[in-house]
């Protein structure tokens, strides 16, 4: 019998609440014989005079004042840099076993299954490092801007953090998604929860200087310089090519701030590039250098990795935009609904091509759809939270979400995506995600074609 059922003041007496996790599992496995005993035990407990009296009086959590209501609390600045509650120990960044063999060239996934709204807490932001992460001394960090030859830029310059932080900044909310997010699932279902299917995704408010401000301060020649190379200061000195059109639009930011504080070391402290709508690998961390050039660079992460294999054996190179995508985070794979009745189904949608216009949710595997409520204001190239009411009748269901962005692009099904790109692309899987709910309330990952 679960703790909930023992509480005399607990008002929901649906059978599900008499079951412990293990018993729910047993029901799911088809072993129901103990159920009768549970009901008997629960009945006996209710019949006992003390318990019955307590049940009439109410919930002991109300009737018996808890410690926090009857003692002195802790003083201010006990935690000079505040931490989450000690009860919040479950939602952590986690690795997917077997994905990488070296922690320095690996991924940790963001626990989307328990997050709210659109902002990712900085400490839970997903990580992808190519040669480990560094904690760079901001007083010694420099940003250099130069040209691939002298005709592209009047004056190559060096900026300190002091100087960058004097320049007029912008603050904008944007999602960042690894190009390989959901990459494990191209061929078939491989991982159990939304943390591992979609957790190379985060969203923050970034503060920094538009890159165009710096390029113009250096006297860039936009006619000749049509590409930008961004380079990191860490051991990998990661590099990616970025189109000058994006820089000219003012969207690309040389950022130092994240969610009101400085960037976290794992996210590129003290300086990273923000390239809205483009896959995370282009958001170069520990940014030390910007070069303007007249040709793309074919760097390792755009010529050996982050290239999308097609069925005809060709690789797509310089694929950068993260196309429109969404996922239901509650309820999602690896979770169990406790009982029948009302639920708020919630998830996030995003598009690398602009704003989210609409999100539809299906409860029957995509036969019928219902438009979800979008929590506004909707931001450009940012996570967008959606919610929709659902009354679960205890019967099997398949939950899906389908996002539409402002260009009119509709998030595709697995069948549609595979028809064009096959199953070995690794990168840019934006298919509709399906979660199957069975009678026990357990939610699992399935793929609907």
């Amino acid at each position: 019998m679960s703790d909930l059922a023992k509480q005399p003041g607990h008002l929901k007496k649906a059978p599900e609440n008499f079951l412990s996790d293990g018993q729910i599992e047993a029901v799911a496995a088809g072993r129901r014989d103990f159920l009768r005993k549970s009901f008997l035990a629960a009945g006996a407990a209710m019949a006992a005079p003390l318990a019955a009296r307590a049940a009439e009086q109410g919930d002991p959590n109300i009737l018996n004042l808890p410690e926090w209501s009857t003692t002195l609390g802790k003083p201010v600045a006990t935690n000079p840099y505040g931490m989450p509650s000690k009860f919040e120990s479950q939602l952590l960044r986690r690795e997917s076993p077997g994905l990488a063999r070296v922690g320095g060239a690996s991924v940790s996934f963001c626990p989307l299954q328990g997050l709210f709204g659109i902002i990712t807490p900085s400490g839970l932001h997903f990580e992808r490092h190519h040669q480990g992460w560094q904690d760079v001394d901001p007083t010694k960090h420099r940003l250099m801007v130069n040209g691939s030859d002298e005709s592209l830029l009047k004056k190559p310059k060096v900026y300190t953090m002091d100087e960058l932080m004097r320049l007029p900044p912008v603050s904008r909310i944007h999602f960042i998604e690894c190009g390989a997010n959901t990459g494990l699932e191209w061929g078939n279902v491989a991982v159990p929860t939304v943390q591992y299917t979609h957790g190379m995704l985060s969203c923050s408010e970034f503060t920094g200087v538009p890159l165009k401000t710096l390029l113009e301060d250096c006297g860039v020649d936009y006619k000749k310089a049509r590409y930008v190379l961004a380079e990191g200061a860490d051991g990998s000195s990661m590099t990616r090519t970025i189109p000058m059109e994006m820089v000219e639009s003012g969207e690309v930011i040389v950022a130092y701030g994240q969610n009101g504080e400085m960037l976290r070391p794992e996210n590129g402290y003290p300086l990273r590039l923000v390239v809205p709508g483009v896959q995370g690998v282009s958001w170069v961390k520990w940014l030390r250098r910007i070069e303007v050039g007249d040709k793309p660079y074919a760097t390792k992460d755009e010529a050996v990795h982050y290239i999308d294999l097609l069925p005809n054996g060709l690789h797509r190179q310089y694929s950068s935009i993260q196309e429109c995508k969404s996922v239901i985070t509650t309820p999602s794979g690896g979770q169990t609904l406790l009982n029948k009745g009302f639920f708020n189904v919630s998830g996030v949608a995003w598009s690398g091509r602009g704003k989210i216009k609409q999100v539809d949710v299906s409860f029957d595997g995509g036969i019928n759809w219902k438009t979800a409520r979008i929590e506004g204001p909707v931001q450009n190239k940012a996570l967008t939270r959606f919610n929709v009411d659902w009354v679960w009748d205890g019967k099997p269901a398949i939950l899906q979400s389908r996002a539409i962005d402002e260009t009119g692009y509709v998030q595709p099904t697995y069948g549609q995506l595979r028809k064009v790109r096959g199953t070995k692309s690794i990168y840019h899987n934006n298919a509709i995600q399906s979660w199957k709910v069975v009678e026990s309330g357990e939610v699992t990952n399935v793929q609907v074609l």
């Binding site: 996790d21 293990g22 919040e88 479950q90 939602l91 986690r94 997917s96 076993p97 063999r101 070296v102 060239a105 691939s148 030859d149 004056k155 190559p156 310059k157 004097r166 320049l167 279902v189 491989a190 159990p192 538009p210 113009e216 301060d217 990998s236 000195s237 970025i242 059109e245 994006m246 709508g277 040709k295 793309p296 660079y297 074919a298 760097t299 999308d308 097609l310 069925p311 054996g313 797509r316 950068s320 690896g334 979770q335 169990t336 406790l338 539809d360 595997g365 995509g366 036969i367 019928n368 759809w369 549609q416 995506l417 028809k419 939610v443 699992t444 399935v446 793929q447 609907v448 074609l449």
Partner: protein, 354 residues
């Protein structure tokens, strides 16, 4: 017919120019006291990128034989002596044929015969490999190679791939010729809608953002049957640990208890050595009681416990890495660990890694 006078046109053009200037951002050298000119030595120190047209490639040369020596010394512990290892990173070499070198397309990529893609089955630009080795390798000591070392290592890799003969010397003079022999040099396409800049027809890349897949926003009776393509395999349900512990124990749902109620155990007390081992990636390759990539700690203890100066030997192993004692899978060096951290780890392992 209405016509603008010349002066009106001139004034509107001037006004337009003014607006453009203000929306275009800031002018050259706009911010007094912010930023300074980079010196030529500074630019030289950091501007190390090499483009496909070899702009930025330092002069130099290196031969296959020297490359073999360097590779064995600095690269083989992760990549295997022949660039074949799949233990730490995906393989560098293998997977291409003489015919691929002729056509510039790796056939195995479309025929399905390729068990795994290697660097040389994918890369279409030799500059990429030169640039990457120079900027980021070796793994634990990036940027320690001289240009001649990089030429030599690359010559060795090209020889492994049977692109150049064993007596070959690679240099800035002949690298352009080698480019024409890369097995997958014709294997890239930029004909897609995922480049956020100008399209190819305007001198950029790609098709200007036209998506390759189309769905429609059907709302009612969109299909007659739900076709399930794949479900979660049983092994995958438990491969990510206890899912119940990866969700809150309150709120609208619970994490599903995947390992069974018996597996639920109270959180372990703080263990600084275990934390150190976890944080530094030791646990990714070594289990406490089982082999993963490297030996389990129990096996290490069994082998070393009766040896004189076991602690000293293990400390050296942790620091410098090694290969051969436990088979062919190499252990990378751990130069980033402090001596006292290695001491803590070694003592913890010898005490049973509890």
């Amino acid at each position: 017919m209405f016509r603008f006078s010349k002066s009106v046109i001139a004034r509107s053009v001037a006004a337009f120019a003014l607006i453009s200037a203000s929306t275009a951002g800031f002018a050259f050298d706009h911010f007094k006291g912010v930023g300074r000119q980079a010196t030529p030595s500074e630019v030289k120190a950091w501007d190390i990128d090499v483009r496909p047209d070899f702009k930025g490639l330092p002069k130099g040369s290196g031969n296959v034989e020297r490359g073999n020596e360097l590779f064995e010394e600095k690269c083989a512990s992760c990549h295997g002596s022949f660039g074949e290892s799949n233990e730490v990173f995906t393989p560098l070499a293998g997977g291409t044929t003489k015919d691929d070198i002729k056509t510039g397309r790796v056939k195995g990529l479309s025929s399905g015969e390729l068990p795994q893609r290697t660097t040389f089955t994918k890369v279409a630009t030799i500059s990429t490999v030169w640039d990457y080795i120079y900027r980021a390798m070796p793994w634990t000591a990036p940027k320690s190679l001289k240009p001649d070392d990089v030429y030599a290592i690359l010559a060795y890799l090209l020889n492994l791939q049977e692109i150049v003969p064993g007596d070959f010397t690679l240099s800035d003079k002949n690298i352009g010729e080698v480019q024409k022999l890369l097995p997958n040099r014709n294997g890239m396409t930029t004909d897609h809608g995922m480049w956020p800049g100008a399209p190819a027809k305007k001198g950029g890349i790609g098709n200007g953002g036209i998506p390759d897949v189309k769905n429609t926003a059907c709302m009612k009776n969109c299909k007659t049957e739900v076709q399930i393509g794949s479900t979660l395999p049983d092994y995958a349900r438990t491969a990510h640990g206890e899912l119940a512990d990866q969700n809150r124990n309150f709120g609208p749902v619970r994490g599903t208890r995947t390992l069974g109620a018996e597996a639920a155990k109270p959180a372990a007390a703080a263990n600084p050595a275990l934390e150190l081992a976890t944080k530094n990636g030791c646990m990714a390759c070594h289990g406490v009681n089982n082999k993963i990539v490297g030996p389990g700690y129990n096996e290490v203890v069994a082998r070393y416990k009766d040896q004189p100066d076991a602690e000293g030997k293990l400390t050296a192993k942790v620091k410098a890495g090694g290969q051969g004692v436990w088979g062919s899978i190499p252990m990378p060096p751990n130069g980033h660990l402090k001596d006292e951290e290695i001491k803590t780890l070694v003592q913890w392992i010898m005490a049973g890694a509890k």
